[in-house]
């Protein structure tokens, strides 16, 4: 199964939790978009499908 993770092709990633772990050690201050829609933390175990685009966003504080 191939997915897109932060714009790059990726294999062997089955859930959103795994996708996050591939990008960062942090679990807090992170938002994840699946195919352009943010997935609440409680649903991060949702399985990914072939061709899914996952984007891991980091909160920034600057203003």
């Amino acid at each position: 199964m191939k997915i897109e993770l932060n714009g790059e092709a990726r294999e062997g990633v089955a859930t959103i939790t795994e996708a996050v772990a591939a990008v960062t050690d942090a679990r807090r201050g992170i938002a994840v978009a699946l195919n352009g829609e943010v997935v609440p933390r409680s649903e991060w175990d949702r399985p990914l499908a072939d061709g899914d685009a996952v984007e891991v966003l980091t909160a920034t504080q600057g203003g």
Partner: protein, 392 residues
């Protein structure tokens, strides 16, 4: 999703106001009705810094009738690279006053309300209640979560924006109509993971890109024009020059706006966001020296290994003489543990003392029992020991 206008129209515009706002009045979607709504609108901008500068200037120029400025800080020279509402002659003045002067110069028909105070749990409701809409331009997570929770608890909409280096994000959070900040980011990142603009830098003009989105959204909400960013996160990448919209839904488990909300009043936001990790807070006890003590140690010829844990770009700007550079990330990850001294006493410093505390915790965990860090970092050194060096 289009929404009804947030504000009722003022009864009329004066002849001078009609002349001034003519380019708005001839846009059919704004017209006289929309401009009268702006005149009647009360908008609070939290922060008169990077985002607050362009936001306040455009809110004023657009004819928002009452503009509040919540800001306690004073203008520093390092602000002027991006905080365009302030000028050289304002250095040292309260930002709220400097910003108010600029607004009056841009548009004398605006009523400016100055809140030259630290926004906190004790005053945030009282201040927010006076406004129809809030624009969030603060620079730290603790205030951002406080602004969100206060807005949710009062049922107020607010336009949120944040910036870092070349990246910006913006959205409209309004729990009555869509998600809130906690629906997107339930918790702040662990302390130390995400640098502030003071630590990591920000491209000055990025403030205009995000600040102008915030004002655009404010005007749309106030006048009921177009589709506001309720339920959408705008993500801007200046290097790629892309704007992308990501859908955000209300999180059914949101702690403040969900059906089973646990946050029903304001909480301790400093504690919620933490300025340092628990490990770092523990490591610094009994292992912290002042810049003056460091100066004495150096003069005495004490056998220390002075380690700067900032990033190379910062080290290039200013450093304490005799130091060497090992960025904090390499110490915390363990990659640079072999570079740490085995016998000499390690003395860590960073810009202001947070990153060095984390490096200290990692070094102590790796066995450097006598390691210390410098309170206040290189800024403390400049302040107490050598004011001829540049601050940043």
């Amino acid at each position: 999703m289009s929404l009804p206008p947030l504000v009722e129209p003022a009864s009329e515009l004066s002849v001078d106001e009609v002349r001034r706002y003519s380019r708005h009045l001839i846009i059919p979607d704004v017209a006289m009705d929309g401009q009268k709504r702006l005149k009647n609108a009360k908008v609070l901008c939290v922060g008169a810094g990077g985002l607050g500068s362009p936001a306040l200037m455009y809110l004023a120029a657009a004819g928002v009738g009452t503009i509040g400025i919540a800001e306690f800080d004073t203008v520093d020279e390092s602000n002027l690279q991006r905080q365009i509402i302030h000028g050289q002659s304002d250095v040292g003045r309260p930002k709220a006053e400097s910003a108010a002067d600029s607004i009056r110069e841009i548009n004398p028909y605006v009523d400016v309300v100055i809140h030259n105070t630290v926004l906190d749990n004790d005053n945030v409701f009282e201040i927010f209640e006076q406004y129809d809409l809030i624009v969030d331009g603060t620079d730290n997570f603790a205030t951002r979560y406080m602004v969100n929770d206060a807005a949710v608890l009062l049922g107020k909409p607010y336009v949120w924006g944040s910036i870092y280096r070349f990246d910006g994000q913006a959205s409209v959070f309004w729990a009555d109509q869509g998600p809130c900040y906690r629906c997107l980011y339930p918790e702040p990142p662990p302390p130390g993971m995400v640098p502030s603009c003071a630590e990591g830098g920000v491209l000055g003009v990025l403030c205009a890109s995000i600040g102008s989105i915030q004002v655009t959204e404010a005007i749309k909400l106030l006048t009921g024009v177009g589709d506001p960013l309720v339920g959408s996160l705008m993500v801007y990448d200046a290097l790629e020059m892309t704007y992308r919209k990501i859908k955000v839904r209300k999180d059914p488990n949101c702690a403040v706006c969900g059906p089973n909300a646990t946050v029903k009043e304001l909480i301790d936001y400093e504690d919620f966001c933490g300025s340092v990790t628990d490990e770092a807070a523990e490591a610094v006890i009994g292992s912290t020296i002042t810049a003056r003590e460091l100066e004495t140690w150096i003069k005495e010829g004490r056998d220390i290994d002075l380690i700067d844990v900032r990033e190379p770009a910062e080290y290039e700007i200013v450093r304490i003489p005799g130091s060497r550079l090992i960025p904090k990330g390499e110490i915390v990850s363990g990659a640079a543990l072999a570079d740490l001294p085995t016998e000499r006493q390690a003395v860590f410093y960073c810009k202001a003392g947070v990153r060095s505390a984390e490096a200290l915790a990692a070094a102590k965990a790796a066995g450097l029992k006598n390691a210390v860090h410098v309170q206040g970092g290189v800024l403390g050194w400049i302040n107490q020991v050598d004011p001829s060096l540049p601050t940043y």
